[in-house]
């Protein structure tokens, strides 16, 4: 599905990603953890096509295409979805219309017929039930005046409507209360299948209790320094990051 090889990127003359490699197979769920400022958001935003970052080396292929060659809107239409760590408020652009335009852009790209207003409403009502969102959200501006938790829920609602092949969830669990976390997790789990891959960036084991990852990675200073299964997350929870950082340093010396 996604193959990142020795990726290096900088922003404003500062190296952020320093030779990052990661492979995500079809149907797999990966968790990426790591200290603040280590480059997690940079990685997922870069993958989604944000042009603030300058790629200075390495390659990324997505479904056998050179991802870095594609514009952000093309990446989205190819099935890549980013749930933002900080979803943007866009007052004046209606939530429903954005979703409908977005879904239809993808359908058109795949050569499918576009949904009309009635079909779309039926679809979105279903998905909103899943996310336990009130229909009043439909008439508001994109994320306008949404609470932090509501914004995150709205991101997963979009994911549920768009049904991407690869979903990158950047700290979707941060700022959620315990009930909202369960709802979001249920939403994500309902989208889990053998064709869809999911990457979750998170700081907390708690999320992984609800969405069990196949793999856990530690990203530090622009590189993946350790990978393991879900037991790695439990160990991190217990012992923090220091020991992984130390071990990585020693391995590097050896």
């Amino acid at each position: 599905m996604l193959k990142i090889d020795n990726l290096q990127a900088r922003v404003e003359d500062r190296d952020i990603l320093k030779g990052l490699s990661l492979e995500i197979g079809k149907g797999e769920v990966h968790a990426i953890m790591g200290p603040n400022g280590s480059g997690k958001s940079t990685l997922v935003q870069l993958l989604a096509g944000r042009d603030d970052y300058q790629v200075t080396g390495g390659t990324v292929s997505f479904m056998d295409k050179d991802l870095l060659e594609l514009d952000p809107e093309e990446r989205a239409r190819e099935g890549l979805f980013l749930a933002f760590q900080y979803p943007v408020e866009i007052p004046g652009v209606n939530n429903t219309y954005l979703l409908k335009a977005s879904l239809n852009a993808m359908r058109k790209h795949r050569g499918e017929t576009e949904l009309d207003a009635v079909e779309f409403l039926a679809l979105i009502r279903d998905k909103m039930k899943l996310m336990q969102m009130d229909s009043s959200f439909l008439n508001r501006g994109v994320n306008e005046g949404f609470s932090g938790g509501e914004k995150k829920r709205n991101e997963i609602l979009q994911m549920a409507v768009l049904e991407p092949k690869l979903a990158l969830l950047d700290e979707t669990d941060s700022g959620l209360d315990i009930d909202a976390l369960k709802i979001v997790a249920a939403g994500v789990n309902s989208l889990r299948d053998s064709e869809r891959s999911i990457v979750m960036v998170t700081h907390y084991q708690r999320l992984l209790d609800y969405i069990e990852p196949d793999f856990v990675h530690v990203l530090s200073d622009g590189k993946i320094i350790r990978s393991g299964d879900k037991s790695l997350a439990l160990e991190l929870e217990r012992r923090g990051y220091d020991w992984v950082l130390k071990e990585a340093l020693e391995e590097a010396k050896a």
Partner: protein, 431 residues
């Protein structure tokens, strides 16, 4: 000081002879105003208030006064806002068309024709701007609108000013005086449109007087021909606890100049000024506001947005004067501007004069391009670049339009704005 050919002004004198009222007193007043205008002429760019707005194109023109005309039902339908439940007066090139206007009005609302305009009071005269004198000299079918005390009128009064082409460009001088009684509630909607691509001059003067506790919403939509000249001046006098809201949506004209002067004369008076200027081609749009806080505990809030494409030019000047002893006032002003082309230009300037010490004032001006984060968010959802851009520009404009209370006006304006935007076609289904 006059920056324009003498023949143009002589032309005005000839035009006056054929158009002035016959009553000798009224005629005298008009003549006096004309002479005062001719003495000074049109304002030139050496005057501070006209620094960024050059009237050369206007002063080179000869304008005639409009002959009587009529309007078919279809023509009217093509001009009016159709989704507005209102009382209506229709003007064609400044003349009231009684056959298209409502003759019966609700209790508490009175409309009559206004004959005597500005008096020959020397103290006041010196402060009168040139375009006001010109309006006084030539105004026809001036209207006095009175709202009785303690009257709340449910429907707005809709004044539809239609411009039409004649052999030569026409000058039209709409004149409105509105007096709102104490604790009245009222909404006035002014709509300026063109039947065809006229090159007329429309020089409007609106005097508004709000008694204690009166509340007025004044919406002005200027959607006239892109070759016309639109000059407008609104004067607002506010008594204790009165509330004035102005929405100004400026879409049309080759050159538009809006002046709003608000005097907050007594405690508790509040004023809210919102404006949107949407320029393209070589349009020039200028808004000057002046709010005088003359009493303590008064409040003013201004939000102006300007979106300029191609080679259009915008000017915003927001002056706030806090007079001595006007303590505990609040004055807030925001001027946010979006330049869609590297050839578009905006001059925006707050001007604060504060002679009291316990005041809360804020002002902020931004000039920019579209928000990068919002742009990336839309792209990441598969929206193409043109549509994303159109959506964000529309959203920027809509923050002003959304403040208009009447949903019929809001929807009509949203449609118009979408039609005017670059990449607007993509957005039809969004509004």
């Amino acid at each position: 000081m006059s920056a324009h050919p003498a023949e143009a002004l002589q032309g005005l004198r000839d035009t006056f002879v054929g158009s002035a009222p016959s009553d000798p007193v009224l005629r005298g007043q008009r003549e006096h105003a004309l002479e005062r205008f001719l003495e000074r002429g049109f304002p030139g760019t050496r005057e501070e208030k006209w620094r960024y707005t050059n009237l050369r194109a206007l002063t080179r023109r000869q304008f005639i006064t409009a002959p009587d005309g009529s309007l078919s039902g279809e023509q009217l339908a093509s001009c009016r806002l159709d989704d507005l439940d209102c009382h209506t007066l229709v003007f064609l090139n400044g003349r009231l068309l009684t056959e298209h206007s409502d003759s019966s009005l609700p209790a508490g609302l009175r409309i009559s024709s206004l004959e005597a305009l500005d008096s020959e009071d020397e103290n006041e005269e010196d402060a009168r701007p040139a375009f006001r004198e010109l309006n006084t000299a030539f105004a026809r079918d001036a209207q006095l609108i009175e709202v009785d005390a303690d009257t709340a009128l449910a429907k707005p009064l809709y004044l539809l000013f239609i411009s039409a082409r004649e052999e030569l460009p026409v000058m039209v001088h709409p004149r409105i005086e509105l007096v709102a009684g104490s604790n009245s509630r009222f909404s006035l909607v002014e709509h300026h449109v063109s039947l065809d691509l006229d090159e007329n001059l429309v020089n409007t003067v609106t005097d508004i007087n709000l008694a204690a506790g009166a509340r007025l919403t004044h919406t002005r939509i200027q959607d006239a021909s892109n070759k016309s000249f639109q000059i407008c001046r609104v004067y607002v006098e506010q008594a204790r606890d009165s509330h004035y809201i102005n929405h100004h949506i400026c879409l049309g004209s080759a050159l538009a100049r809006m002046d709003i002067d608000v005097s907050l004369r007594e405690k508790g008076a509040e004023t809210e000024l919102n404006g949107l200027m949407l320029g393209k081609g070589r349009q020039h749009m200028d808004t000057h506001t002046q709010v005088d806080h003359l009493a303590p505990h008064t409040l003013s809030r201004e939000v102006y947005r300007c979106i300029l494409d191609e080679k259009s030019r915008g000017v915003f000047n927001g002056k706030v004067v806090v007079h001595k002893d006007a303590q505990k006032i609040e004055a807030h002003q925001a001027s946010n501007n979006l330049l869609l082309s590297e050839h578009a230009e905006i001059d925006t300037k707050p001007e604060l004069e504060i002679y009291a010490d316990d005041v809360k004032c804020s002002h902020g001006a931004t000039v920019g391009q579209l928000d990068r984060n919002a742009m990336f968010y839309l792209l990441s959802r598969g929206i193409d670049r043109e549509t994303a851009r159109g959506l964000l520009v529309f959203a920027f404009a809509d923050e002003v339009v959304a403040k208009v209370a009447e949903s019929g006006i809001r929807r009509a304006m949203e449609k118009r704005i979408v039609g005017r935007l670059p990449d607007g076609d993509m957005l039809r289904e969004f509004v």
